[in-house]
Subunit: 508 residues, 4 copies
C-alpha cells in the first residue's frame, strides 16, 4: 500500500522532508491570585534527512538475555528463519515493536472509516533487518552458546541460528566489582584491563573499529547489561563534562562502567541509550552530550509490569477513582533477577519503578492532598525455576463512590527478554531517526533537538528529561507525543480526537 500526504505543510525533496508546524501549547502561571492560562504558539520547521544510513547497534551486555534475543530476532527476520514448536511452524516477526508492528491513525474517510498505517511505511526508519549488531560483555561466551544459555527462544530456533551466531563473540567489557552484585563475579571472564582512562579509550577504539569493519554510517550504543548500583552525584566529580573526564582520567571510584560507555559513545558521536535503571546519565554526561551535539536517553526499558502500571494508574485516577495502594511483586529467574537479588542493585530498580505513578497522582488535587500518595510497594525476587519467564503479581486498590473499594489483582506472565528485545530495536531505530531530524524556530537556523531525547519517553520506565521539562509517565500521553510529532513531520495536523465532522454537520 502506498501512502500520500497531500499537505501544504510538508514537502519532500530527494534527500529530505521539510515540514512547517504551528506549535500550540498553554503556558500556566500559578500565583496567590489563581491560575492563569495563556495559549502560546511557535512556528517550527522540521527537517528530516531521508538518507537511511547503514547502521550498527552495539550493546553493552550483548551476551545477556536481552542482547542475544535482539541478535537472534534480527537474524531470524533477516534470513527468514522459520522454526517449529509443539503448536506448529512459526515465522519470524517483530511483534512488540512499536516501529515495526504498530500503526498510526491517519484520519477517517468520508464514510467514517478510520484508516491506520504502519509507522515503518510512512517514515524513513532504518529497517531492523539491516542493523549490524555487536557489543561488549564481561562473559566471553560466543553468541550462539549465549543464546542457549539464555533459554529464551525456542530450541528449534536456537539450533538453526547456531551457525549464524557462533562466530560472534562479545568484546571485553568493563567490570568494577562494586557496581553489580557479587554473584556476577564468576561470569566476568572477559574484561578490559587497566585504568578507567584505558577503559574509555578502549571502548572508543572498539566503536571506531566496528564502524570501519562493517562500513557503517552510524552506530547506536545501548546499555542492556545488568543493573548497577547508583552513583553519587557530587560537585567536582561528575557535575560537568570537564569534571567527568577528569574523574575518569584520575580513576575516581564513583564513575560507573555505564557512564564510561556513555562517555565513549558521545565522544565518538554515537547516540547512547541506558536501558537499565541506574543513574548512568549523570549531569556530566548530559553536559558532554550537549557540548558534542550528542543524543542520550534513559532509563530502563518500559516493559511488563511498569508499562501496565503506567496505564492502569492513569486509567483509574483519570476516572476519578482514588487509587490508594499499589503492590507490585515480581519474580524471575534469569541473570537480571540474580543480579537484582542484591540490595543495592535492587534499590536502583526500585527507584526507577516507583516514580512511574508520581505524575498521575500529582495530576489530581481533588483526591490527593498536597504530599498524599498511594501506598506503593515494589518487590523483585530471584526464582531460578521460572527462568526468563518473569511473573508480575500486582494489586491495585482504589477508593470509590461512598466508601466502596475497587480491587484489581493481576497475574502477568511476561517473558522478560521477548518483551524487551523489540523495545530495544525501537530505541535503536528511533534514536537513530531522531538524530536525522533538526528543527528551526521562527525561521532561524536548523538545530539538533535537545541532547536528552525525551521524545521517545514512551519506551522508558524512568524517562530522563531536559531540565525544566516535566516527566511524563502516562503511557498514552507518551504515545500521543510521538504520534503527533510524526504527524507534524508528514504535514498532518495533530490528532485532537474530536471528530467534529460527525458531531456537527458532516462536511466531508
Amino acid at each position: 500500500m502506498s501512502y500520500q500526504f497531500h499537505s501544504t505543510k510538508s514537502h519532500q525533496t530527494e534527500s529530505s522532508i521539510e515540514a512547517d508546524f504551528h506549535y500550540e501549547t498553554t503556558h500556566v502561571e500559578v500565583s496567590k491570585e489563581g491560575v492563569i492560562c495563556t495559549p502560546i504558539a511557535k512556528d517550527y520547521k522540521f527537517k528530516v534527512d531521508k538518507k537511511i544510513p547503514k547502521m550498527g547497534l552495539m550493546m553493552i551486555g550483548w551476551g545477556g538475555n536481552n542482547g542475544t534475543t535482539v541478535t537472534a530476532g534480527i537474524l531470524a527476520n533477516k534470513h527468514h528463519i522459520c522454526w517449529t514448536d509443539r503448536r506448529g511452524v512459526h515465522e519470524p516477526n517483530y511483534y512488540g515493536s512499536y516501529t515495526q508492528s504498530a500503526t498510526m491513525r491517519l484520519g477517517a474517510t468520508s464514510e467514517g472509516e478510520e484508516i491506520y498505517a504502519p509507522y515503518k511505511e510512512i517514515l524513513p526508519f532504518v529497517c531492523p533487518d539491516n542493523i549490524v549488531v555487536g557489543g561488549w560483555d564481561i562473559s566471553k561466551v560466543n553468541m550462539a552458546d549465549a543464546l542457549k544459555r539464555a533459554q529464551v527462544v525456542d530450541y528449534d530456533l536456537q539450533r538453526q541460528l547456531y551457525p549464524y551466531m557462533k562466530e560472534l563473540v562479545p568484546l571485553p567489557s568493563i567490570y568494577y566489582k562494586s557496581y553489580i552484585a557479587a554473584n556476577q563475579d564468576d561470569r566476568a571472564d572477559n574484561v578490559i584491563p587497566g585504568t578507567k582512562q584505558n577503559h574509555l579509550d578502549t571502548v572508543r577504539k572498539n566503536i571506531r573499529d566496528f564502524k570501519a569493519q562493517h562500513g557503517l554510517d552510524k552506530i547506536v550504543v545501548l546499555w542492556t547489561a545488568t543493573t548497577e548500583r547508583y552513583v553519587e552525584i557530587k560537585e567536582g566529580l561528575n557535575d560537568t563534562a570537564e569534571n567527568l573526564l577528569k574523574s575518569i582520567a584520575s580513576g575516581e571510584e564513583e564513575v560507573s562502567p555505564s557512564t564510561i560507555f556513555a562517555t565513549a559513545a558521545i565522544l565518538e558521536g554515537c547516540p547512547f541509550v541506558n536501558g537499565s535503571p541506574q543513574n548512568t546519565l549523570v549531569p556530566g554526561v548530559i553536559d558532554l552530550a550537549n557540548k558534542h551535539g550528542g543524543a542520550v536517553m534513559g532509563d530502563d526499558f518500559k516493559t511488563g509490569q511498569t508499562k501496565i502500571k503506567s496505564v492502569l494508574a492513569d486509567f483509574l485516577v483519570s476516572s476519578g477513582l482514588k487509587l490508594q495502594s499499589i503492590v507490585s511483586y515480581n519474580h524471575l529467574g534469569n541473570n537480571d533477577g540474580k543480579n537484582l537479588s542484591s540490595p543495592s542493585q535492587f534499590r536502583s530498580k526500585e527507584i526507577s519503578k516507583s516514580n512511574v505513578v508520581s505524575d498521575v497522582v500529582k495530576s489530581n488535587n481533588i483526591m490527593y492532598k498536597e504530599g498524599e500518595h498511594p501506598d506503593h510497594v515494589i518487590v523483585i525476587k530471584y526464582v531460578p525455576y521460572v527462568g526468563d519467564s518473569k511473573r508480575a503479581m500486582d494489586e491495585y486498590t482504589s477508593e470509590i463512590f461512598l466508601g466502596g473499594h475497587n480491587t484489581i489483582a493481576l497475574h502477568n506472565t511476561c517473558e522478560d527478554s521477548l518483551l524487551a528485545a523489540p523495545l530495544m530495536i525501537d530505541l535503536a531505530v528511533l534514536m537513530e531517526f531522531m538524530t536525522r531530524v533538526t528543527y528551526s524556530i521562527d525561521g532561524k537556523e536548523f538545530k539538533n533537538f535537545n541532547s536528552v531525547m525525551s521524545m521517545i519517553s514512551y519506551l522508558l520506565k524512568a524517562p530522563v528529561v531536559p531540565k525544566g521539562s516535566p516527566v511524563i509517565n502516562a503511557l498514552f500521553k507518551q504515545r500521543e507525543c510521538l504520534d503527533n510529532f510524526f504527524r507534524a513531520l508528514l504535514g498532518l495536523p495533530c490528532d485532537n480526537h474530536l471528530l467534529l465532522e460527525g458531531k456537527t454537520e458532516h462536511f466531508f
Copy 2:
C-alpha cells in the same frame, strides 16, 4: 483556586461563553492507487449558555441498585451526611465521577510543572448536589427500603438516609413481560395499565408533572432499569419517527418499554440516555430526536470490566503485541445479574460487550489480516452470595516476539453500583451541559450538535454514533475528545502532548 484563561479565542459574557476554534483533521481516501491523506480545517464558533438550570434527573428503574445509589449519593453529598464503618468515619464524595473528581491538564509552568484543574471549577456544569431526582420503577418499594434491599451503601449511611428517602416512591413504570427475564415478574407490582399509547402519554405527563412540581428548568431522562432483549429493526415498524409513533399507537409488540421512554423524553424536550445494552435507540427514535432537536445517547454504562478491556486491548495492540484471546468472566448477585441469567437479556449484554475491541483490532493490519479477530468469550453468571460486589475475571493472551506469549490474568472486585452511580451522574451533567452548547461553522447560524451525543462516548460501553461517524471504544481517545472539546470552549489549544518547549530550546 480561581482559574483565568487569557485567550483571544474565547470570551465570556454574563450569559455565555463564546469560543473560536480552528478545527483541523485529516481526510483520507483509499483507492487502488493507495491511501491519500489530506488535512482539512474548519472554523468553528462555540457558544455555551452559562445559565446553570435547575435540573431534574428522572431514572427508569429508579428503585434498582443504580437508582438508589445515585439518589443516596446525591443526598449524602447535599446534606453532608458522614457515616461510620469498621475503618472509621467517612465523608461523602463523588469518587468515580469524571466531572466531579477528575481533573484536566491545563498546561505547564515555565519551570515545567504541569498544572491540572477540576473540570467542575472551570466549566459551568450543574452541581450534582442540586439535582432533583425522581423516576419510575416496576416495584413500588419506597426508596429508603429500596436502598436497604440494594445492600450497596454502608448500613450507617442507609440508616441516616432513611428519613430522607422513605417518602420517595417510584412512579408506576412500563412492564412488558417478553422484554425482561421471567424472574422479574414477582417484582412487577407498580405498572402503568392500558395500551402502549397510554404508556407513552402517562410517561409524558409524569415528566411534565415532575417539572412543575419541583419548578425545574430541565429534566434528563436516564434508563437504568434492567436489560431488555433486542428488538427487531424493520421497515415500517421503527425506521422513522412517523412509523415509530404509529407503531406505538397501534400497540406493536416490537416496541420496547425503553423505546417508549425515549420517545416520551424527546417529545417532552428532555435529553435521554440509555444505560443498558439493548437497542433502545432504534432509527425511529433517532429520527424523532433529529426532528425535535433532541439529545439522545447510549448504550450501556462503561464501568468495570469493559472499561479496563478498552484500555488493555488498546495498550496491547498499540504496543505491537498481538492480542490473540480475551476471556471475560463475570459474576454478580444483584437483580441485574438475576435478569441477565436469562439468555435473551444476556445476548443484549454480550453484543454490547463484545464490540469493544473491534476498533482496536481493526486499527492494526500488520498483525491482523482482513477478518482476523482474537478469540473473545464473554460470560456473565448470577451468584447471589456476592450481591452487588461484582467480580470480573479476565485473561488476555498475546503473541509476542518470536513466538512468545504474554498472559495477563485479572481478578477485579468491582462493586457494580458504586462504579455505575457516579457515571450516571456524569451522564446527566454532561448531557445537560451539551444541550447548552451550540456551534456555528464558517460564520453561519448557531445550531445544536447532532442529536446523538457521541461527544460523551467516554461513559458508554457501546457508544451510539451519528451516521457516518466511526465508533471509538479506546478509552484514552474518548477522553482526549472530551478534554479537547472543553479546551476549545475555554480558548485553549488542543493538547498535542508534544512539550516542544522542553525538547528544543526552552521558550518560556
Copy 3:
C-alpha cells in the same frame, strides 16, 4: 533400595501375597432419639496374585490428545527418548502419576524420621513401560500425525517419536451423531459400519485380536474419547444386563457408544474405565459386570480444577469456614473444548463437576442447614488459541468469623492432557492390579471385589460407587483409602497419624 515388611499379618509366597486384616469401622444409626455409634470389626484376608501380566491398554479415542499423550509418554519412557526445548535437555518421566511418582509413608524411625517409599517399589504393579497400547478412534489419522495434531508434547519429542508412532493406526470406532457435538462430524472418517449389535461384535473381536496379536495376558479398556450426552435410564432399556443386551441387539437409540464399549469389555473379561463424564455405566452395565465378575469404574478423570476444588472445599469447610460461593470458569482450545461447546455434552460435564462438593457440604450441619448449598457455577468455554493449555479461573468465597469474608481467586494453567495422561496410566495400572486382589471374610472363600472399583475413586471426578456406599470426593480421604488398603496388603497397620510414641513416653 529394598523394602522389607516384618509383619506377622502378611506373608508372601512365590506367587502371592496373603494378608490378614482386622477391619474396624463405625456403624451409625440415626433415629429420633439420637445418633448411635457402634464400632464394628471384620476379619479379612486379602490375596494378591503376584504374577505381573503382560498387559494391553486399549483406549477409545486413542488418537485424541489424551490417547496420543499416553502413547507418547509410554514410548518415550520405554525407549528413554530425551528431548530438548529452550530450557535444555529433558528426560522422560511419569510425573503426575500416583503409582509411578508418588510415595507412601511407611512409618518413622526411632529418631523420629519419617520414611516413605515409592508405591511401585513395594507393590507388584505392572510397569507402564511394558504396557502395549492400542485402541479405536473415529479419525483414522495415524498416531504420529495425531501427536502433531494434538500439539501437546514438545516438538523435539514429536519429531523423535514419529517413526515409533506412524505405523500405529486406530481401529475404526463407533460413531452415533446424536451423542457428541455436531462439530465432530468432519473428524469421523473411521467408523464401524452396520448395526449396534455389529458394533458390539466388532469391538469384541478387536479386543480378542489385539490380545492374540501381542500375546497379552490382560487388557484394560479405557474410554478417553470426547464427552457424550447423557442417556436416559429406563426400565426395560438399560436397567439390567439382559435388557441392555436386548437393546443393543434391537438397536435402541438410547444405547451410547461408550456403553457398547463397556459391554464389549466386560464380555471379553477386560476391566473397563470411563474417563469422561457421561453416564456410560448404566445399571445394565453394572449388572453385567457383576454377573461376569467384571471390573468397571468411572466417571471422568480427576485432574486440574475439580481436583483442587475437592481439596480446597474440604480444607475450608473442615476448618469451620462457611464456603458460600464457588465459581469455576474454564477455557481450553483442544478438541475436548470444541466438543464441550455444545450444550448437551457440556451438561454431562457440568453434572460431573458440580457434585464434587456435595459430600463436603453435607458433612457440616452446623454451618449448612438441611438443603443449604453454596452457590456453585461451572462454565467451560472453547478458546482455540490456548489449545491444550487449559485455564481454570476459580473464586471461592467463604463467610468467616463475625461476618467477615475470605476470598480465594485462582488462575491455574493446567495443560489438560499432560495432567490427564499419567492419571490414565494409573487407572490402567490400578484397575489391572485390583483384578489380581481377592478377599475373604471370616475365613470364607476368596472372592473378587465389587465390580465397581471404588477403591480408586481418588482418580475420578465423579466416582461411581457400589449401591449403598457413600460417594467420597474429598481428595485426602480418597488417598487415605488407597494407602491404607496397600498398607493392609503389606501387613502394616493403617496410618492413624497419631504418632503417640512422641506425644507420650517414647517407646522406640
Copy 4:
C-alpha cells in the same frame, strides 16, 4: 441431637471418660541393606476429666487486633449481640473455629449415609462463651477503644460492644526495645518497670490475681503480641530450666519478653501457647515445663496463606507433580504488618513460614534428590491502606508429565484477625482440654502427655514437637491425628477411610 457411643472400649463415669486404645504404628529401620518396616502396638488407656473448669484466657498483646477480636467475638456470642451491615442483620458465630464450627465423621449408616457430629457436642470442651478473657499489653488503651483502633469488626458491632469493653484495660506488659520493631516504640505506654526478675514476678502475680478475682479454675496464657526477633540459644543461658531462671534473675539480654511470660505461666501451672513465630520456647522453657508437668505449644497461628500452602504442597507432591517453585507474597496494614516491616522480626516470620513444605518435599525421593528443594520465596510487606484485610498472592509452579508445567496463581483476601481469632479460641479450648487427659501404657500409672502439646499441631504454622518426634505440617495429616485421638477417647476405631463394607460384600 444426642450422640451415643456403644463401644466396649470406652466408658464414662460421672467424672471421667476412660478409654482403651490399641495403638498401632510402624517402626522403620534404614540401613545399607534396606528399609525394614515392623508393626508395633501398644495398649493405651486414656482418661479424660469430664469436669469442665471455669476457665480464663490471658493474652499477651491483648489490645492488639487478635486480642480485641477474640474478646469481641466471645462477648458477642455470649450476649448474642446481633449487628447490621449493608447486607443485613448478622448473628454472632464461631465460624473458623475447628472446635465450634467443624464436624467429625462418626461413621456411616447401613444405607451408606455418612454421619458427622460437631466436636463440641461429643467432647467435654469448655464453651468459649464462658471463657473469662484478660491480659497484658504495652499500650494502655482500653479494649473498647482498642477494638475501634483495630478496625476489624463491623462498626455496628463495635458500637454495641463499647459498654462491655470500655472497662477492660490491659495490664502493663514487658517491653524490651531490641525485641520488636522500633516503630512500636510510641505504642509502649503501659510497661512493667524494673528488672527481668521483677517482670517475671509481676506477671506471676497478675495471673494469681486474675484467677482469684474471677474465681477461675484454670488459666491458659497465650502470646498473641507482635513478632519478636529470634533469641540465641546458648549453653548456660537458656538451655536448661535452671539456667533460664538464673538468666532471668541476672537480667540477661537474650531472654525475650515472650520467654518470661512462658516461664511465668509454667510456674503458675498454666498452659502456654506461643502464637507468634519467634523461638519463645527455648530448651530451658521446655525443660521447665517438663519439670512442672506444664503444657506448652507453638509457634505461630496457622491461618491464611501458610495453611493453604500446607494443603496445596501436600496435594501437588502427593499427586506426583513436582512442585518446583513457591512464591508467597503477603501484604497487610495492621500493626503486625508494621512490626514485620522491620528485618529481624520479619526473619522470625520467614523461618516459621518456610519450613512448612519441608516434610512434604522430604516425603518424595523419586522427584526430589537428596538436598533438592523447590525455590521458595516469602515476602511480607506493610501496606497501611489494606488494614487488617491481609492479602496473599502466591504462585506454585510444578513440573508435570513430559516437561509440562502447571502454574497456580492465587489471590487470597484473608482478613487476618478474623481468621486468627477462632483459632486462638481453639488453641485455648484444646490446650485446656489436653491438660485434662492422661494416659497409661500397658496398665502403668496415668501420666500427663508430653509437655509439648504437638497433638494440636493442626493449629500452628511451625509446630514445636517433642524431641525425636517428626514435624508434621501437612494439614490433613494433622487433622487426622486430632480426629483419631478424639475417636479413641470415645471408643471408636480410627478412621481408615476404607469403607470395605461397600467394596466387598456389604455386611451392615
